[in-house]
Symmetry: C2
Subunit: 635 residues, 2 copies
Amino acid sequence: MKTYKVVFAPSFKEIQAQEGKTVLEAGRDAGVYIDSHCNAKGTCGKCRVRIVEGNVSPVVEEEHNFINENERSQGFRLACMARIHSDITVLLPGENILKAKAGEKLFSKRSEIMRPAVKAYRVDLSACKENVHRAFFEDVIQYLNKEYNINNFESDLSVLQNLSKALKEGNEKITVFAWMDKEIISVLPEWDESAYGLALDIGTTTVALYLCDLKTGDVLSSGSVTNPQVLFGTDVMSRISFSASHPGTGVRKMQTELINSLNIMINQMLVENNITSDRIIDMTVVGNTVMHHIFLGIPPDELGKWPFIPSIHGSVDFKAREFGLVINPAAYVHVLPVEAGFVGADNVGVLISEEPHEIEEMSLIIDLGTNGEIVLGNKKGPLVSSSCATGPALEGAHIGNGMRATIGSIEKVRIDPATHEVDYAVIGNKGWASEKLNIKNEKSYKIKPVGICGSGIIDAVAHFYKTGIISQDGAFSKEIKSPRLRKRENGEMEFVLVWKDDTGIDRDIVLTQNDVRQIQLAKGALHGGCRVLMENLKVESITRMVIAGAFGLHIDKENALALGLIPWCKPENIIMAGNSAGHGAYLALVNIEKREEADRIAREVKYINLALDKNFQKEFLNALTIPYKTKQNDN
Amino acid sequence: MKTYKVVFAPSFKEIQAQEGKTVLEAGRDAGVYIDSHCNAKGTCGKCRVRIVEGNVSPVVEEEHNFINENERSQGFRLACMARIHSDITVLLPGENILKAKAGEKLFSKRSEIMRPAVKAYRVDLSACKENVHRAFFEDVIQYLNKEYNINNFESDLSVLQNLSKALKEGNEKITVFAWMDKEIISVLPEWDESAYGLALDIGTTTVALYLCDLKTGDVLSSGSVTNPQVLFGTDVMSRISFSASHPGTGVRKMQTELINSLNIMINQMLVENNITSDRIIDMTVVGNTVMHHIFLGIPPDELGKWPFIPSIHGSVDFKAREFGLVINPAAYVHVLPVEAGFVGADNVGVLISEEPHEIEEMSLIIDLGTNGEIVLGNKKGPLVSSSCATGPALEGAHIGNGMRATIGSIEKVRIDPATHEVDYAVIGNKGWASEKLNIKNEKSYKIKPVGICGSGIIDAVAHFYKTGIISQDGAFSKEIKSPRLRKRENGEMEFVLVWKDDTGIDRDIVLTQNDVRQIQLAKGALHGGCRVLMENLKVESITRMVIAGAFGLHIDKENALALGLIPWCKPENIIMAGNSAGHGAYLALVNIEKREEADRIAREVKYINLALDKNFQKEFLNALTIPYKTKQNDN
């Protein structure tokens, strides 16, 4: 029977699959986790994927319940229903929309000050009836001036187009929504101040979106989805190349893919919260400089070569209609400023969220995404920042059995120093694998591991060192005798974390010598970068550290320190902050003072280009080794 | 053989035509002039028409030379090639693009002050190379600040998208185009300050467009085209009804038809002048209040009922991309303010063109379009304005053999008092018909009349009165014996202006008793309106009169006075100003001070609603009669 090549993005894992096999089956064979609750019956809708290249079987009845026409036109299918008929590329959208309750908890402690850019004003023109109307718009302006003492309003064209109808329907009572007290962007034919906004964090690999109530500050829904630009390259450099090699069209393609994905997410959130799209009247955006440029449709080509100049530095406001976003087309999208060629608006988001410039104590802030962005400073002095080319290894990419932190990935590892036996925890299950007598029959531990994500890799490598499986320079031991430590066919050493029978991929899950080297390079870049900033501000040791990024929530501080991923800091003084960049976007959404703060901080922060720094190479090399007794080494 | 109904807009003349006849042949039978130089061979392209309803024969090879794909999709055809296969409606686009030389003469005397909204600045960033770039946009801003002392620029998104490429292509030297010194709307990768703008005058029946060089003020091309909205109603009230009866979609349809027609005209002008669309970076618009609203996509519904409130009064600026105009999408379109429900931005255009508020002497300004808009005032006092429901009779509509002032229409008439013989002049020929011994054989008088336009009608009715053919109350004489004065089948009297053999429509060209009544109603409304304004400012007689509107260029002052169309004024003190509204749009395009003047005047001018004025009814009735000795009556 004929077989075809099936590639799964964003990991770009490949497998040969027989003609007629479902995409879900091929995914399981490739060790790619695709959620399915209904056992491939087409009734749960969890296995939505996007076929971005190649032919699969036609859409069947069952899929209509889960995939609308617009989504179908973009290639969305249920993996359990789509059968392979050619070489195909499949994008796992990684959609993850948190429902209202879960969303509410997000950022809950930090939204006390509400000062959104869009304000609602009640207008009543019924008194004008007896007088002479001049024109509806000027009557509204006069009323706002008299009642609220605001003047010099401009108007979106759509407001003028809707105004007379709104006044008629509302019996002369309308609600006017004004942006920055400068421009009327929406009118409602009743007195109703409800308004909603979106905060967007565009990561290289994952895009996070938050739907917020602009009256209360509540996060009504939050969601994340694979950045579909992974189809054009998994890291920023390859996206820059794609843009440069497709002048004009490249950046537009990547922008369109992103907007399409966002629109699908926005529509889901609208339905979930029973809100119409025109009620979303504000939006803020953060992202690294390349994501920032592509979102704006600006070719990022110059960011890929010395001297790495962005096209624009300051924050900008453009109308939603210029992006084709399915929110109120008159709404402004506020894109936060970037700091420099490689320290973007995402880091600005982190800064206004963590506020190192408001704290007496010196803070080291590390935002771990596909790359690492670091800031050091305090209230008194300058802030210095840098970008470390950690690359996507910490996200599980470029690691043989690596994967992102989704269901089925090994997120924790511990190794018995005596027996070298491995225990692990898998996302989607509760507790450690060893706590279950029999994994196969235990319902609460039904999910078999299919790969290992960043936090699991850090645990594993740290334990490799602690247990002597690797030496300080990262090489696998030649003395330890364990069936898990073995030679591959190509002569490379590898260590088996989970035996084939216990995995969901019908083969062993391993870490190879090369995988360990990848982690060493990433940690060398990050740790070395931190040291350069510390030398720059003459800081000897870190007493306060914030690790931002969703990834940070999962990693084990002790193991990260043991590995030397980060400079030494007492574990109790390391704060795991979660998605601070997204939180910064949220703060800028609900409080315009945070936008001003962002503009100010982005101008003031001093960027250090590690590639040009004379000390970096030395620090990088030093940091490649694995210091177990980190404290003594660093402090 | 089967026959079909063929309707020709904008006159809505109907004829039954045999299946397979060409639209050109049907037009000739209907007395509708369709230009054709090549004698229906499909080689001159002059007979372009638009089939807006019904089926005609498929497009043939010859048409490809004159009609592009976009135009074909809108129904454009060569009338000599399209054969009738069903009931059809044909729109005569009345396209008339003046070539460069003719355009240059237009407004030539009045463009001395050049102060356009968009200014060009030369930027050279090559000096930045040695220093550290922060970001390209900020570098440009810094340069503009240093070299030109301008600051706080914003930017169109497209500029950010093009900036790095322009700097690269221009070797760091670019030209920056800034709107109102506020926003950068375009960049060029070289030092080239050439910039172009459009001035648009949207008439109810005809749309006039001027392409201007923003460096020199020259009008490079001017063009006029039938407002395609005539398909939805020939006058403003019927367009309001169309909007009201099709909520949401009606106004959008009319707007889209207008934009499509404009885009065809713009493209012709671009080709003619060898300019690319992105070099057109500014635009001004005038039009009556209903045209103004429809252009902006604002439903004009409230303008159709008491108290006739417009949606917006002041001037507005919106981006070209919001209208879908094929100019630089980042360009601003400046729409001049309206005065009141029925005195629109076109009249504001007339005011900034004629400047009665700058002249010591009292001026009466009459803008004759489909309706008449009048203003009275001088430098010292207030300006008062009004709108007279003259209706389209003076444009030849609602008159049996009436037509617009295009080729084939009788534009001048004189009647011998003794013999009642008629002499006439036809647009497209030179001189009077009587000056040619034999019209048929004389090459320079080859165009046979097919109808009569406004100026001809005024001449004819004035001569009817002077020669006793009608009495003071407008009734045809029962005493005069002439074969030309006869009774129609329905008993109505009519006067034959041109006998069948000399016409191009195979029947006599006549004016009927009803036609004379239509003219009386129109002149009563206009003259009565003028009297009300004069009473309002206690002005006894007019010593300075300006007649604006293309129509005014053709009418005979003496006959207009004889008819009592206008109040008495010495003929030498009556200025025929041409398209002052369009000229006002042009002035606002090349000089932003005129925009400020327009905003100020529009606020200050006092609008008198004739429907609510207690004197109007009396003045209207008085003005219905035809005063031959106008001087004695009025002065």
